[in-house]
């Protein structure tokens, strides 16, 4: 989608008044917030291509591995980016993941609900939590950082306490058997393009198990969700009225209000967005693992924000892109998995994560100055 909008920009340039200076393609590209993350992702691939090119990292199986990790992070990073563009933070994403997990597992295992009903229940709870976060921030005018930090503790604590109260432990296993024949679960638990992998396997193009089936069986659902969300959110930001309102609400909420943008409603909807994204993340992981863990998603909110920042979002709001956050997630996912294929100790991953974020913030700050500077 972003390439499409770029080409449209270029077209209007050409059609413009001949008095006006033409803007070079390069400068237009430099104005895009996701540029840094795109460049970073390319660098990361080049790096691992050189360092780990012959280790199996770039086999079908290896690639699906790091794409799966990237996609999982990407799902929440995209929602976090949308909210950041709207001028707010959500630190409760990680806790919401844990909470959504048990909202699926406990009704399904202990109360005998059908799995689809538990999934619908979890998403309803997400809408409630997101709405509550949003209305609290909008009505009190308090910084969302504080409000959602409180929600981080409340949700994680409630997840632990309720799970122990109902089940007597902190993990709820036994979901795997319920997935089959469920009318909803397949949306979060089906590998796609299996035929392609079977065919590639039969052509001996990808690695096979000893029984002759391919090692990589299909595209995991996280990747499909990730691509779907990246496209939809980019389309929303670039092409819809609501997208314009998101930028406006984050850029200057008083100004936006004065010209009739429903800033409160926009922000609340974005908080619902992050909670729902956390629930998509949780559903995919819970169904994949077959169990819900109360600690699932710990610290994920910070990784999501980091990916959004690397993707070009400003911490002050009003600027950024969803596709940038997607690239940010790909960088983190690729490095976190890729590091296993190198001789580097995996302990260094967090160092990389921090350094990457620091560079991104400095770069973004520079870009913002460029963009807002008067002639």
């Amino acid at each position: 989608m972003s390439t499409k909008s770029k080409s449209i920009n270029l077209k209007t340039d050409i059609n413009q008044d001949e008095r006006l200076k033409k803007v070079s393609k390069l400068k237009l590209l430099l104005n895009r917030p996701e540029l840094g993350a795109l460049g970073g992702a390319i660098l990361v691939f080049i790096f691992f291509g050189i360092v780990a090119g012959d280790t199996g990292m770039f086999s079908a199986y290896g690639m699906l591995n790091f794409l799966d990790v990237s996609a999982n992070l990407g799902i929440i990073a995209i929602a976090a980016a949308m909210l950041m563009i709207g001028g707010e933070f959500d630190l409760s994403i990680g806790s919401m993941i844990g909470f959504a997990g048990i909202c699926i597992a406990i009704p399904a295992i202990y109360w005998g609900w059908p799995l689809w009903m538990s999934i619908v229940f979890a998403f309803s709870m997400a809408v409630l939590v997101g709405y509550f976060n949003g209305i609290l921030v909008v009505k009190t005018g308090l910084p969302s950082f504080i409000v959602t930090l409180a929600m981080l503790f409340i949700l994680r604590g409630a997840t632990l306490a309720l799970t122990r109260l109902i089940t007597g432990r902190t993990q709820v296993p036994g979901l795997r058997v319920l997935i089959e024949n469920d009318p909803v679960a397949w949306i979060f638990a089906t590998d796609t393009f299996k035929w392609l992998f079977t065919w590639l396997g039969s052509m001996k193009l990808i690695a096979l198990r000893t029984d002759g089936t391919p090692l990589a069986t299909g595209i995991p659902p996280s990747v499909i969700w990730f691509i779907f969300l990246a496209i939809v959110t980019t389309w929303i930001l670039m092409k819809t009225r609501y997208g314009n309102w998101i930028f406006a609400s984050g850029g200057d909420k008083i100004g936006a209000n004065n010209v009739g943008v429903p800033v409160g409603r926009v922000k609340i909807s974005l908080f619902i967005g992050t909670a729902v994204a956390a629930t998509i993340f949780a559903t995919i992981q819970v169904l994949d693992a077959g169990s819900a863990d109360t600690m699932r998603g710990t610290l994920k909110e910070l990784e999501a924000i980091a990916a959004a920042v690397v993707g070009g979002c400003l911490l002050t709001g009003g600027y950024g892109s969803a596709i940038g956050a997607a690239f940010g997630a790909i960088i983190f996912g690729t490095v976190s998995m890729g590091i296993f294929y190198t001789d580097v100790d995996t302990d260094w991953f967090k160092v990389f994560l921090g350094a990457m974020m620091l560079i991104a913030v400095i770069f973004n700050n520079y870009i913002r100055r460029k963009v807002t500077e008067s002639k």
Binding site: I8, N9, Q16, N244, D252
Partner: protein, 264 residues
């Protein structure tokens, strides 16, 4: 049928015991620029907010095109065609010219339920409108932050006109601008008025107001010191009517005295 587009008759506004405005009357014809002059604290802001529908007047009436109007909110004022451009301009500097121009009122295209923001049309209109003022937007998708203060002011005014303003209230449009930028904005205001708008220009700068105004209302401590046609009043008289004007005159005399003494 009077020939006034909008009349504010005997407007008073009280905040508790404080009399913020008392019996202020202003009448505007189409194509007229009325300058509202006053020093800081004269009640200009309260008057603007009352005209813009933010405050309800405690006394007096607002008559638009011979109909008595009561505003309940700024939106009511806007719907009737009274648009206010505040000092903060309601522009987002990180967003493009086009996205700012249509912020909150985006043109849409496509079938129901799948309507999208018609960026191409919006770009075209924004570039066209800015071009009419003579502002060189190299690219309507450039950020407003890259524009000069005067250009931003013009963008905000141009946006208000595009969305149907009949009466334009401008709050200190030139106060933050240099001489050249201010003259660009003033020129645009005159042009807008010549197209049939009534403009209320609020300022404390007589030198900006005098060349463009058709009439002048001076506000002092919440009361109108009267409205004067341009032919009936000089720049110097206006200056001295504003609170502080006399003090400035006194200062001028003193400084001349000092100069005279030191040159001796």
């Amino acid at each position: 049928m009077s020939d006034y587009l909008v009349q504010f008759n005997n407007i008073s506004k009280f905040f508790g015991k404080v009399i913020a405005l008392k019996d202020v009357t202003m009448k505007l014809r189409k194509g007229e620029i009325m300058c509202l002059l006053g020093d800081n604290g004269a009640g200009k802001s309260t008057l603007i907010k009352t005209l813009a529908g933010v405050h309800k007047p405690d006394e007096g009436e607002i008559i638009v095109e011979d109909k008595k109007i009561i505003f309940d909110s700024p939106k009511d004022a806007l719907d009737i065609g009274i648009a206010t451009v505040y000092q903060d301009l309601a522009l987002v500097s990180l967003m493009s010219v086009t996205r700012n121009f249509f912020m909150g009122r985006e043109p849409m295209k496509g079938p129901p339920f799948f309507k999208t923001f018609d960026i191409e049309k919006a770009n075209k209109i924004a570039a066209e409108r800015m071009g009419q003022i003579g502002i060189d937007v190299r690219d309507p998708s450039q950020a407003v932050g890259t524009m000069s203060g005067g250009e931003r002011q013009c963008l905000a005014i141009s946006r208000a006109i595009y969305f149907g303003a009949k009466v334009l209230i401008l709050d200190e449009p030139t106060s933050a601008l240099g001489v050249h930028q201010a003259s660009v904005v003033l020129k645009y205001i005159v042009k807008a008025a010549s197209q049939g708008l009534a403009v209320i220009l609020i300022t404390h700068n007589v030198h900006h107001a005098y060349p463009v105004g058709n009439s002048f209302t001076v506000l002092n401590r919440g009361k109108s010191l009267g409205t004067y046609e341009k032919k009936d009043i000089t720049r110097e008289k206006l200056l001295s009517m504003m609170a502080g004007g006399e003090e400035l005159n006194k200062l001028e005399v003193e400084l001349e005295e000092m100069n005279r003494l030191s040159s001796q």
